[in-house]
Symmetry: C2
Subunit: 308 residues, 2 copies
């Protein structure tokens, strides 16, 4: 095999109660990435589409290239790769766009080279790409994008990612308001200090969400999908966030919060029909308030990137 084309999933990080520790991948949207092995060593990004011309072709400055450069170096590869990146998801949306590109290109190159590394081993390389894109080496999006399913980043040093099986019926509605929130800004406005009582509430919900997911307890999942630390601060960056959240919850969402650093808003639903109903209610509420947006409906991606 000399060429491969893969789908790399968008992902939802934080998941309400799990700031910097929880993430899950979606079955749509995502990137499509085509990779070709070539004799000439190194990484060349030969084509990018769907980015409105903003992403660099320089592989050292594009998340689709950074991780692969490190991977080829690590494997002491004598061959090189050519990458085509087709963005089929919004960038700067809080849906892990840079992570999808990093995960997809790493998955593709690793597969072409005979899968010398496991998906878990690829996470560290994808984190290097995230560092280039976002300024910090976060793992919540890239781990979800590479492994699929729901992930807990238990520790960064050393990196320890725990996979949490999720019921296949669970679906997600994601509303992407077409406004820009810069990740640095979304991080800067967070308070560096929180109260002990916020810790108690937030960690109880984080622990409870894991119990709910593992035990398939939808009522428990719903009770735990709350964020008393980050959402109250970042909601101010998203016009009509609380109206949209209310519409989601009133239409049966198990929970609804900000995806990553926003502006996308995710809602978890017990099945596809509910997700559709919830998603349309969210979109209607956004449009009523003059907020232009896109809606995605997706199952929870169970496997990470896939070969197309």
């Amino acid at each position: 095999m000399k060429e491969i084309r893969v789908f790399a999933p968008a992902s939802v990080a934080n998941v309400a109660c799990g700031f910097d520790i929880f993430g899950f991948a979606l079955d749509e949207p995502g990137d499509e990435i085509a990779v070709k092995l070539v004799k000439e060593p190194g990484v060349r990004i030969v084509r990018i589409s769907g980015d409105e011309g903003v992403l660099p072709l320089d592989p050292r400055k594009n998340t689709a290239g950074v991780g692969v450069l490190k991977l080829l170096e690590h494997l002491k590869s004598e061959v090189g790769v050519e990458i085509e990146l087709h963005k089929k998801m919004p960038m700067g949306s809080g849906l892990g766009s840079s992570a999808a590109s990093a995960a997809g290109s790493l998955f593709a190159v690793n597969a072409l080279l005979g899968s010398p590394l496991s998906p878990k081993e690829l996470i560290a390389f994808a984190m290097e790409a995230e560092k280039e894109a976002c300024g910090s080496a976060h793992a919540d999006n890239v781990a979800a994008a590479l492994l699929g399913g729901f992930v807990l980043i238990r520790s960064y040093d050393p990196l320890d990612v725990v996979q949490i099986p999720v019921r296949a019926e669970l679906h997600c509605a994601v509303l992407h308001p077409k406004i820009e929130i810069r990740t640095e800004m979304a991080r800067k406005i967070l308070k560096n200090e929180i109260s002990l009582s916020q810790l108690v509430v937030q960690s109880a919900n984080a622990a409870g969400l894991i119990a709910g997911l593992l035990q398939g307890d939808l009522a428990l999942i719903a009770k735990c999908l709350k964020d008393v630390v980050v959402e109250p601060v970042r909601a101010a960056l998203i016009p009509h966030f609380y109206d949209i959240q209310k519409a989601a919850l009133e239409n049966g969402a198990l929970g609804c919060s900000i995806s990553g650093s926003g502006p996308s808003i995710f809602a978890i639903a017990k099945d596809r029909n509910e997700a559709a109903q919830i998603g349309y209610a969210m979109k209607e509420e956004a449009l009523r308030n003059g907020l232009d947006c896109d809606l995605y409906l997706s199952s929870i991606n169970q496997k990470g990137p896939k070969v197309l």
Copy 2:
């Protein structure tokens, strides 16, 4: 049935990463409580042993009485009870002594009255007793003592307790240094503010511990039994805490931290033999440093109080 004698378990609260949200019950030590139904309404504590004379016979001031008073009132009971309380565990030790007395007397009275309430429903009454004893209505010890097993206090308002099944092989070594730490003091020295990065680490470990317990993953449990918020502060109240903790970990403990507000130190072990080895190492280390102490070895109590 007019009389009953029950065992009510000691319990370990916080469990390293779960400040105010995690607890589990022990099979020993604990209280023995004898309760008799009598015609005359009200609650009388007729005998207390093992308390070195410090506990009050006034049922409104003794946790064995407070909860029962509320329960009889709630049930509009026309009969009364006489309670004998035999303390067979240390008080003020961080092992939930007041919670054991509250849980045991409530369990006994409820059983004598034909079990009108479930163990979960008794928690609110036991919390009233805790409020009298400790000044605040904490649920971590009483919920563990009433339900057995490992509990997550997911929320206080409304009260929501999640039971987490635990492998029967897991054992616990508990070292009780014979020093006094007042609960108010142990709480007062905590910082009211913590950093966002402490939240990330602590909630990741709390979520991971639940995953480890539910999936029976001992390695994960061991990695998560860490406390970056409370232990670093309270360790200063327990002479040679870190030496004792080191002895436990070097002898194979999955984790070792302060039980509740201390001074007791618990270590979790994968089976009874390991718990014994760990416990003796902890005790040896304490004694070497001139710290007088008692050692308890116990399985994780799976059922809460039991009829003797």
